[in-house]
C-alpha cells in the first residue's frame, strides 16, 4: 500500500466520532497546560495515563499526542503576553513576541504563532508519514547487538543535545537504567531491589516517578521562586497578521519547518532544540531589515513553526524504533506498554490503524488548534490570570489521583511523595531529570538486548563492534561525547542555550 492510501486509512480512524472527541480533549488540555506556566506536557501526559487504560489504544495515543503538540501552541500565548514562557520550547518566542505585544502588536504575534505552527504541523505530518515506514523496515532487520548500540546512541545523543553538565546527565541515564530494572527479572524471575514489597514486583511505577519529579517537585520549586507575573492588559487587537506580515514570514516558516523537522527526528531533539536553532538560523539568513530581539515578527514565526514541526517528527523514533527522544515520548511508550503493545518497528505492521490513525489525527488536531485558538485566545488569557496559589493545589490533586488509579493502590501515592523529595534534591543539585526518565524506560529493553546479543555469541562482547551497524552507532556515540568535550563545540553549545 502506498502512503496516501495508508493516510486515508488513518483518516478513517482519526475521523471516528470518539477519536475526534479525544483529539479535541487532547489538544485543548495541551493548550491549557501550554498556556499555564509551571506545568508541562510531561506531567500532564503522566496524569492522564491511568485514564487511557479504559480507552482503545488508538484513542489513547491520539489524545496523548494532542497534548504534546497542543502544548506547543499554548506555550506561545504565555510567552507573548506575559514574557514568561508557558513551555520551555517557547523561551525564544518571548524575545520578539513580548516586544511586539508592548508595541501594541500582540494580535499579529499570536496570529503568526498559530499560523506558523499550523503550516509546520501539516508539513511535518507528511514527513512522519513518508519517513517512518522505511525506517521501521530497516529497524525490523536489527539484531539484539544493533538494538543495544542504537539505544546507547539514542541515550548519549539525548544527553549531548540537552543543557547542563554532560557527565551528570550520563550519570542520570545510568541511574535511570538501574531504577528501570527494579522488580521481577523477566529471565530468572528473581525480584530485584524490591525489598520484599509485592507492590514493587512489577517495577517502580513510572507514573509515580514522573509525577513526583515533574509534577510535585516542580510545584515546590515554583513556590519558592515567588515571581510576580506582569500580565499584559492592553487590548490584543486583531489577531490576523497583515498580508505584508505573512509575506515576510513565509520563507521563515518554511526554513524553520525544515530545520525543526530534521532536529525533531534526532534523539534528544524535539520541540525545545528546534525552536532555539530556528531562531538562531533566522537571525543570520532572514532578509533585511532585521530587527530580531526588538519585535521582529519573524522572530515569533521561526521558533513557533520549528517547535511544532519538531514536536511532531519526534514521534518518528518513538514509533519506528520504540526509542523515546524526549520525556514526553517516554510517556507515550509507557502508554503503549499499559495497553499491552510492545513498542518497536513491528507495531506499524501489526497495528497499521494505530500508526496511521495517529498520523492522521495530527492533521485533524492541527486544524482544530488553529480553528479553536484564534477565537479562544481571550479564554486562555483569562486563564493566565489565575494566580498560582489556586493552580498548584489542582496539580497536587491530579497527581495524587493519577498515581492512585494506575494500580488502584495507595502505594503509588506514597511513591509519588518519595519521588517528589528525590526530584527536589535533583533540581537543587542541577541534575536534569529528563535523561533519567529516558533511561528508566529503556532499562529493561537494554538489558534484554545485551543479554541476547551476548548469548548468541557465547559471551563474546566483541559482537558489539564486529557488526558494522552496531560499530557505527557506538563510534558515533563516542564521537558525540568527545565532540562535546572539545572546547569550541562546548562554547557554541552554551551560547546557543543561553540565547
Amino acid at each position: 500500500m502506498d502512503t496516501l492510501s495508508n493516510l486515508w486509512l488513518g483518516l478513517g480512524v482519526a475521523m471516528l466520532p470518539a477519536n475526534l472527541l479525544y483529539c479535541l480533549i487532547g489538544v485543548l488540555l495541551g493548550t491549557l497546560v501550554g498556556v499555564l506556566p509551571g506545568i508541562g506536557p510531561v506531567a500532564t501526559v503522566a496524569m492522564l495515563l491511568p485514564v487511557t487504560f479504559a480507552l482503545p489504544p488508538a484513542s489513547a495515543l491520539i489524545m496523548l499526542a494532542g497534548i504534546y503538540y497542543g502544548a506547543q501552541y499554548g506555550g506561545s500565548t504565555t510567552a507573548i503576553l506575559i514574557n514568561t514562557p508557558g513551555e520551555s520550547s517557547s523561551v525564544v518566542t518571548a524575545l520578539d513576541g513580548h516586544h511586539m505585544a508592548r508595541q501594541g502588536r500582540a494580535g499579529p504575534a499570536l496570529g503568526i504563532a498559530a499560523i506558523g505552527s499550523f503550516i509546520a504541523g501539516c508539513i511535518a505530518t507528511f514527513v512522519v508519514a513518508y519517513l517512518a515506514p522505511p525506517l521501521a523496515d530497516v529497524a525490523l532487520e536489527f539484531g539484539p547487538a544493533e538494538y543495544f548500540s542504537l539505544m546507547v546512541f539514542g541515550l548519549i545523543a539525548a544527553v549531548v543535545l540537552a543543557r547542563g553538565s554532560v557527565v551528570k546527565a550520563i550519570a542520570m541515564i545510568v541511574l535511570g537504567l538501574l531504577l528501570g530494572i527494579v522488580g521481577t527479572d523477566v529471565n530468572s524471575g528473581v525480584q530485584r531491589y524490591s525489598f520484599g514489597l509485592p507492590q514493587l514486583a512489577d517495577g517502580i511505577g513510572f507514573v509515580a516517578l514522573t509525577m513526583g519529579i515533574f509534577g510535585i517537585a516542580e510545584v515546590a520549586a515554583n513556590l519558592e521562586r515567588k515571581e510576580r507575573r506582569d500580565i499584559f492588559s492592553r487590548a490584543i487587537g486583531a489577531v490576523l497578521p497583515s498580508k505584508d506580515d505573512l509575506k515576510r514570514c513565509f520563507g521563515t516558516i518554511m526554513r524553520a519547518t525544515g530545520l525543526g523537522a530534521v532536529l525533531g527526528i534526532l534523539p534528544g531533539g524535539g520541540a525545545l532544540l528546534a525552536s532555539f536553532a530556528a531562531y538562531a538560523l533566522e537571525k543570520k539568513v532572514a532578509a533585511p531589515p532585521r530587527t530580531f530581539g526588538q519585535g521582529d515578527i519573524r522572530g515569533v514565526a521561526a521558533p513557533e513553526a520549528a517547535n511544532n514541526a519538531g514536536a511532531q517528527t519526534s514521534f518518528i523514533p518513538m514509533i519506528t524504533l520504540g526509542i523515546p527522544s524526549n520525556p514526553t515520548m517516554a510517556m507515550m511508550i509507557g502508554a503503549l506498554m499499559i495497553q499491552g503493545i510492545a513498542p518497536g518497528p513491528q507495531v506499524m505492521q501489526e497495528r497499521p490503524e494505530l500508526f496511521w490513525g495517529l498520523i492522521a489525527s495530527m492533521f485533524v488536531g492541527n486544524l482544530m488548534l488553529i480553528i479553536l485558538n484564534l477565537p479562544l485566545i481571550r479564554v486562555w488569557i483569562a486563564l493566565i490570570r489565575v494566580p498560582y496559589r489556586l493552580l498548584f493545589p489542582s496539580i497536587l490533586l491530579f497527581c495524587c489521583i493519577g498515581a492512585y488509579s494506575i494500580n488502584n493502590t495507595v502505594f503509588d501515592v506514597y511513591l509519588t511523595a518519595l519521588f517528589a523529595l528525590f526530584g527536589y534534591v535533583l533540581l537543587k543539585l542541577e541534575c536534569e531529570p529528563a535523561p533519567l526518565i529516558l533511561g528508566f524506560i529503556l532499562g529493561p529493553m537494554m538489558e534484554e538486548n545485551l543479554r541476547r546479543a551476548l548469548l548468541i555469541n557465547r559471551g563474546d562482547a566483541s559482537v558489539l563492534v564486529t557488526q558494522p551497524l552496531s560499530l557505527a552507532l557506538l563510534v558515533a556515540s563516542v564521537a558525540l561525547i568527545l565532540a562535546i568535550a572539545a572546547p569550541a563545540v562546548r562554547k557554541t553549545r552554551n551560547e546557543a542555550m543561553q540565547e
Binding site: P50, V51, A54, S165, V167, K168, I170, A171, V174, L175, L178, I181, D185, N187, S188, V190, R192, Y193, I216, A217, V219, A220, L223, E224, Y388, R389, L390, F392, P393, S394, L396, L397, F398, C399, C400, I401, Y404, S405, N408, V410, V413, Y414, A417, A420, L421, Y424, V425, K428, L429, E430, E447, L450, R451, L454, L455, N457, R458, G459, D460, A461
Partner: protein, 148 residues
C-alpha cells in the same frame, strides 16, 4: 571545608551512594557470565559505572569550585509531601470526597499567601469536579464516602 559547600560534590556523592547501593544489592543475585547473564550482571556493571561517574563529578567540583550548594527551602516541599502521604492514609478510610478536600486545604498551605477560606472553597469545588469526572465520568473505582 570548601568542598562541602560545592553543589557538584554532593551530586557526585549521591551518584556514588546509588551506585554502591545497586552493586551491593546485586550480590544477592546470581552474576552469571557474559554468555549467560544472571540477574546480578547488569546492575553490578551499571552500579560500578554510576559510582565511577559520581567520583568524577565530585572530583571535578574540586577543580572548578564555582557553583555553591543552593539553599534548600524545605517548607513548601514538606507540606506537599505531608499532604500527599495523608491523602494516602485517608483515601481508603474516609473516602475520596473528604480526602480530596483535606488534601487541597492542607496542600495549599505550601504557599504562605494562601487563605484558609479560599482553599476550603477550592477544595470543595475540586472535590465535586473530580468526583463527577473521575468517578461518574471515567468510572475509576474509588470509595466515595467513609465506610459505615
Amino acid at each position: 571545608m570548601q568542598l562541602l559547600r560545592q553543589r557538584d560534590f554532593w551530586a557526585g556523592a549521591m551518584f556514588v551512594l546509588f551506585g554502591l547501593f545497586f552493586v551491593i544489592g546485586a550480590r544477592d543475585y546470581t552474576f552469571g557470565s557474559a554468555a549467560k547473564m544472571g540477574p546480578g550482571f547488569f546492575p553490578t556493571i551499571l552500579g560500578f559505572i554510576l559510582a565511577g561517574l559520581g567520583v568524577i563529578i565530585a572530583a571535578l567540583s574540586f577543580f572548578t569550585a564555582r557553583d555553591p550548594l543552593p539553599r534548600f527551602v524545605w517548607r513548601p516541599l514538606s507540606i506537599l509531601i505531608a499532604a500527599i502521604c495523608l491523602y494516602g492514609v485517608l483515601l481508603p478510610n474516609v473516602g475520596f470526597v473528604l480526602a480530596t478536600v483535606i488534601l487541597i486545604v492542607l496542600g495549599a498551605k505550601a504557599d504562605p499567601e494562601s487563605r484558609f477560606l479560599e482553599s476550603l472553597v477550592l477544595g470543595v469545588l475540586l472535590s465535586a469536579f473530580s468526583t463527577a469526572v473521575f468517578y461518574y465520568g471515567l468510572g475509576l473505582p474509588f470509595r466515595l464516602w467513609p465506610a459505615s
